[in-house]
Every structure is written in structure tokens, then in C-alpha cells.
């Protein structure tokens, strides 16, 4: 009888055709993308993959040919990467991110958002009342260089004038707007990144931001300019402050799930919730971009208080609607 005697040899001879076919498909798909395969080949791919996977299981237990086992390990891993890798086109993935993933992620950190908002408001009110009580507190919260003459001793006119200064577009304003964006985005990302330090610095950063704002408001309030400074700030501030708070909340979410991972392991909890936090931060980047444009162009062009408030509140409403309502519908097919 001519049948070869060794079982592992027979096993291999019977199956290796499927392996080689799978290898060919995988190689082509790796090189030129899955589109390189015909419809029939794509259809066969999962079957061949499962076949190879079962061959691997068998080979691990019966075959002592190391090359075969190594080869199958490699082949199935490559096919696995291909089948379970990312297949959505980049543009579509991006749209889905904005329409669904980001608002969803924001909703998942609502509790952290409340805490951060509370911390921010505490900072704001504390600074506000402290400065009202005693203007000497002002420079505790606000850096000399940042104040640029906006300090307790200044006259009402000195404070009022810059709020309505109309600058020409040709005045370097547009460039200023983009720089503002870059700067603000970095502050926000810092608040987010500091979440990795168990959240304490995030809270501190948000508190400090709140107190700066509070001190500012107190200064203008004491001169009877609260309404005017409000308009000057809200036009972009509603977007920008919301973004900073969201970034802070995202950082806090990372810290929270790292410290209290619940049923999952720490790393797993970090992976599940950290992913969401990063998506929130990503959404915030876009918000900072918009806030920079509003601050740089909008505020310097629009001097009407009413319009400033209108735009600011409209933006706030828009964000609220987006984050609370967007992407709640049923998931369209997961292809």
C-alpha cells in the first residue's frame, strides 16, 4: 500500500491547498487592499480562514513539524488582521465619528462633567466674591502679563474701550484667531492629559480657569460693566469654556475608571472608558477651532451686545442639542 504512514503528514497533504489559497488571498489583500479580491474570493476568505484556524488547532496537538505550526500561526494571524482589521473607508469613519461616536462619548461622561462644572463654578464664585471684597486679591488669580492694564485701578473708560475695539480684518486679526485656537486647544488637551495623573491636576486647572474668569468678572462688575464684559466673553466663551470643561471631564473620567475599574481589570477599564474620553477630547478640538474663529473674527467685528449674547447663547444651544440628541438612533448596519 502506498498510503504514507504518518498522520501529521497526511493531515498536511489534505489541507495545505486551502492554506496556500488563503495565503495568496491574504497577500494580495495586504498589498492592494481588500478591493484587490474578486467578490467570490472575498466570500471564500472567511471560510478559508476558519479552515486554517481549525487546522492550526489540530496541528498544535498532533503535528511536531514546527514549520507547519509556525506557518499556520502566521497565516491565521494575518488573515485575522485582515478580517478583523479596520475596513470602513476613512471618510465614512470620520462622518460616523462626528454623527455618533463623539456625542455618545460625551453623554457617557455626564457625571464627570457635572463635577467639573461644579469645580469651575466654585472657582469662579470664590474669586468673584474675594475680589469684590478686596481688590488686592485680583492679582492672586490673574497674572500681571495677562491683565494688560485691565486691573482694579483702571478707569471705566479704559476698561470699556477694548471691549468694543473694532479691528480691521487686515490687521493680523485672522492670524490672531488661529493662534488663539492653537493656544486654547493646548490648554484643553492639557486638562485632558492631566487626567492621567489621577485627575487632581485636572481639577486644579479647571478651578484656576474658573477663578481667573471670576476675578475678571468681579473687576468689571465693580465698574458696572458686567453686562458688557459678559457679551465680550460669551460670544466665544460659551463654546470655549464648554470645551475646556468637557476636556476636564474626559480627563476626570480616565482617572475615575482607573481608580475604580469596577468589574473589569484596570487596563480593560482604561481601554473602554479611555477610548470614549479621547473621543470627547477630539470633539473638543473641533470646538476650540470654532471658538478661535468666533473669538478672532466674530468678537472683533460684532460690537452689538445683543448680537454677541445672541451668538453665544445660540452656540451653547447648538452644542447642547448636538451632544444630547445626536446619534441616538438605531445603529445602521455594521459593515
Amino acid at each position: 500500500m502506498a498510503t504514507p504512514g504518518t498522520k501529521s503528514y497526511q493531515f498536511r497533504m489534505e489541507r495545505q491547498e486551502g492554506w496556500l489559497q488563503l495565503e495568496d488571498y491574504v497577500r494580495r489583500a495586504e498589498k492592494d487592499g481588500i478591493a484587490a479580491l474578486s467578490a467570490r474570493e472575498v466570500f471564500e476568505l472567511p471560510h478559508l480562514y476558519r479552515g486554517a484556524l481549525s487546522s492550526l488547532s489540530v496541528a498544535r496537538s498532533i503535528s511536531l513539524d514546527r514549520n507547519v505550526v509556525d506557518y499556520l500561526e502566521n497565516l491565521t494571524a494575518r488573515a485575522y488582521f485582515l478580517l478583523y482589521g479596520h475596513q470602513r473607508p476613512a471618510g465614512q469613519a470620520f462622518m460616523r465619528l462626528l454623527a455618533r461616536s463623539v456625542p455618545d462619548a460625551v453623554r457617557s461622561i455626564s457625571r464627570e462633567f457635572l463635577i467639573i462644572t461644579a469645580v469651575f463654578l466654585i472657582g469662579l464664585f470664590a474669586a468673584f466674591f474675594l475680589v469684590l471684597e478686596n481688590p488686592d486679591w485680583y492679582f492672586t488669580f490673574i497674572d500681571q502679563s495677562m491683565a494688560q492694564g485691565r486691573q482694579p485701578g483702571a478707569s471705566v473708560e479704559d476698561l470699556r474701550e477694548p471691549l468694543y475695539a473694532v479691528k480691521d480684518v487686515g490687521d493680523g486679526l485672522d492670524v490672531f484667531a488661529t493662534q488663539l485656537f492653537t493656544h486654547n486647544a493646548q490648554v484643553g488637551l492639557m486638562a485632558f492629559a492631566l487626567g492621567f495623573a489621577l485627575g487632581i491636576p485636572t481639577l486644579w486647572l479647571v478651578f484656576a480657569n474658573g477663578s481667573t474668569l471670576g476675578a475678571f468678572l468681579a473687576l468689571y462688575y465693580s465698574k458696572g460693566l458686567l453686562f458688557e464684559i459678559g457679551g465680550w466673553l460669551i460670544i466665544h466663551g460659551s463654546t470655549e469654556i464648554l470645551a475646556i470643561l468637557l476636556c476636564g471631564a474626559a480627563g476626570l473620567a480616565i482617572a475615575r475608571h482607573y481608580i475604580f475599574p469596577g468589574r473589569m481589570s484596570r487596563l480593560q477599564a482604561l481601554a473602554v472608558h479611555g477610548r470614549k474620553a479621547a473621543l470627547v477630547a477630539f470633539g473638543c478640538l473641533l470646538m476650540f477651532l470654532l471658538a478661535g474663529l468666533l473669538e478672532g473674527f466674530g468678537r472683533q467685528q460684532i460690537v452689538s451686545d445683543g448680537l454677541r449674547y445672541g451668538i453665544g447663547i445660540f452656540m451653547l444651544g447648538l452644542w447642547t442639542l448636538y451632544y444630547l440628541r445626536a446619534g441616538r438612533g438605531p445603529e445602521e448596519d455594521e459593515a
Binding site: L64, Y71, A93, S101
Partner: protein, 303 residues
């Protein structure tokens, strides 16, 4: 287990991780080296830099020619941001977890828990680059421009440094982005299917003129480890391979007390035959649930 079993690893220390596929079979993947990852990053950053320079020149050329220099500057500032944020995302989305740098060095991103790699994970892990690379760069080069100053700046510098060095502090070489996105960077596997070492032996046996036949006692000397070392030797076609086989063959002859002298020219055939017999013997044992890992495993051969 003995020292021999501990030395089983090949010369280069490979970090192997198992991921559980949804089909329930665990796959072994090899972790990418930190060096390879750094290399891939450098390649990507160089491409990014060249792309940016190209884009800047192009934008200024176009806007300059129509007299809108200022608009050009804005577009440049914004496109810097878009470039550095979307370069990695775009390629990893498009090339299934690979960027040009990663492809060049043969590494790729996968999901750490064996699930499909989602676009969210790709966005999340690359979003962190802004924090890991560009903020530290910003702190180093522009100082106070990040909105912090003095002591805070020092702290944030230390902090950024710790984030950057994160891959050195965990066994899976995870950077912060991998940590929060639940991803893992692995080596793209590539092993060809070689000829089965049994092939020639099977033919020989089928034709019925095998020269060598071994007794069970002679086959019980070695285990799986030795078998696979022998396989490696037999597959080695380089000139040193021949020398190594000769040495190993002599050792085997001594060990199994092969009665007849084996000449140099016959050594390969002898080893082939012994490999064939030994593998058949050990695989037969496997079917019966007996797994002899190496020569020290199991009952000692009868002296």
C-alpha cells in the same frame, strides 16, 4: 523542566502575546520592538514634515500669486493642525492599522482584546499623539505659550516626559494612546510554508527501501525539543549547516548507540531517517496523550 527547556527560545528574544479570537482559538502574535515603533514614528514624522513643507510652499505660492498672503497664512496654520492630527488617523483607517512608517518596518496596530479594530480606537489612539508628542514639543520650544508658567511648567514638563516614556514602563510596550484605545502594536507576521521534512522519508518508505530502522529504545532517547532542533538543522542549507549536522549526527549516533559507523557522506540520509522515525514515534505518543517535551522528560531510557 530543565535548563534545556528554558533555553528553547531562539537567539533573538521575542515577546509573544496571545490574543483570543472570536472563534475561540488563541493566536500568538509577536509584539513590535520599541525600536521599530520609534523608527516607524520617525519615518512618519519625516514624511509629515516634508508634506507640511510641501503644502506650505504650495499654499503660499498659490495664495501669493493671487495676492492673498494673509489668507495663505491662516490656511497654513490650520493645515498644520489638520496635517498632524489626521495623517496618522487617515493611514491607520485606510491601511488597517498601518501608517507608511509602520508598513515600512512591518508592524501594525491591532485590538488588544482580540476584537475587530474599530475606527473609534484608531481616532482615540492618534488623538493622544497630540498630547504625547506635540504638547511636550510645545512645552520645550515655546515655554509659556501652553498657558502654564513657572512651577506648573516644570510639573507639566515632568508630566509630559513621563507620558512619553510610558512604553518603557509596561511589558506590552503600550504608549498612552494604546492604553486608552485598547490597542497593541505587533509585528506583521511572515513565514513561508516550507517543505514537510517527512516528504522524502515518506517516499522512501513507500518505495520500501529505507536503509535505516530504529528500535523503540533508540527513539525514546529524545523528545520534542530535540526533534525540532533537528528539523531546524535539516532545513539549514548554508555550508555551516552541513558542519553542524555532522556534529549533531555524531552526538546522536553516540547517544542512541547506533552500532554501524556512519560516514560523512551518509550523515544527511541518516539524520533524515532518524528524524522521520523519531517524529512518527513522538506523534504516535501524542495521539495517546503522551507528550515528551525533551530528553529529560518522562521515564529515563533503559540503559
Amino acid at each position: 523542566m530543565s535548563a534545556a527547556a528554558k533555553n528553547r527560545r531562539p537567539a533573538r528574544i521575542r515577546k509573544i502575546r496571545e490574543i483570543a479570537t472570536p472563534e475561540g482559538v488563541s493566536l500568538k502574535v509577536e509584539l513590535a520592538d520599541r525600536g521599530d515603533r520609534a523608527g516607524a514614528l520617525i519615518i512618519d514624522l519625516v514624511i509629515l514634515l516634508l508634506g507640511m513643507i510641501g503644502a506650505v510652499v504650495a499654499i503660499f505660492f498659490i495664495t501669493g500669486s493671487v495676492g492673498l498672503d494673509r489668507l495663505g497664512l491662516i490656511i497654513v496654520l490650520l493645515s498644520m493642525f489638520l496635517f498632524r492630527n489626521f495623517y496618522f488617523m487617515f493611514f491607520e483607517l485606510r491601511w488597517q492599522g498601518q501608517t507608511p512608517g509602520k508598513r515600512k518596518l512591518g508592524i501594525k496596530v491591532i485590538d488588544r482584546f482580540g476584537q475587530p479594530l474599530t475606527s473609534e480606537a484608531i481616532f482615540a489612539r492618534n488623538m493622544m499623539r497630540e498630547v504625547e508628542i506635540f504638547i511636550p514639543l510645545g512645552i520645550v520650544f515655546s515655554g509659556g505659550a501652553t498657558g502654564v508658567s513657572g512651577l506648573m511648567q516644570l510639573f507639566s514638563f515632568i508630566w509630559a516626559g513621563a507620558l512619553v516614556c510610558l512604553p518603557f514602563f509596561n511589558r506590552d510596550n503600550l504608549r498612552a494612546g494604546d492604553l486608552i484605545a485598547g490597542t497593541l502594536v505587533v509585528r506583521q507576521p511572515a513565514t513561508g510554508l516550507a517543505r514537510d521534512m517527512l516528504e522524502s522519508g515518506e517516499k522512501l518508505q513507500a518505495s520500501g527501501d529505507g536503509q535505516y530502522s530504529f528500535t523503540t529504545e533508540q527513539l525514546r532517547v529524545y523528545g520534542i525539543y530535540e526533534l525540532q532542533m533537528l528539523e531546524e538543522l535539516l532545513r539549514n542549507v548554508s555550508p555551516e549547516g552541513g558542519m553542524k549536522r555532522l556534529t549533531a549526527g555524531k552526538a546522536i549516533v553516540r547517544k542512541i548507540k547506533w552500532p554501524d559507523p556512519v560516514h560523512e557522506g551518509q550523515m544527511d540520509a541518516f539524520l533524515q531517517a532518524y528524524y522521520h522515525a523519531l517524529r512518527k514515534h513522538l506523534e504516535g505518543g501524542l495521539l495517546m496523550g503522551k507528550r515528551k517535551e525533551n530528553k529529560f522528560d518522562g521515564p529515563p531510557p533503559v540503559a
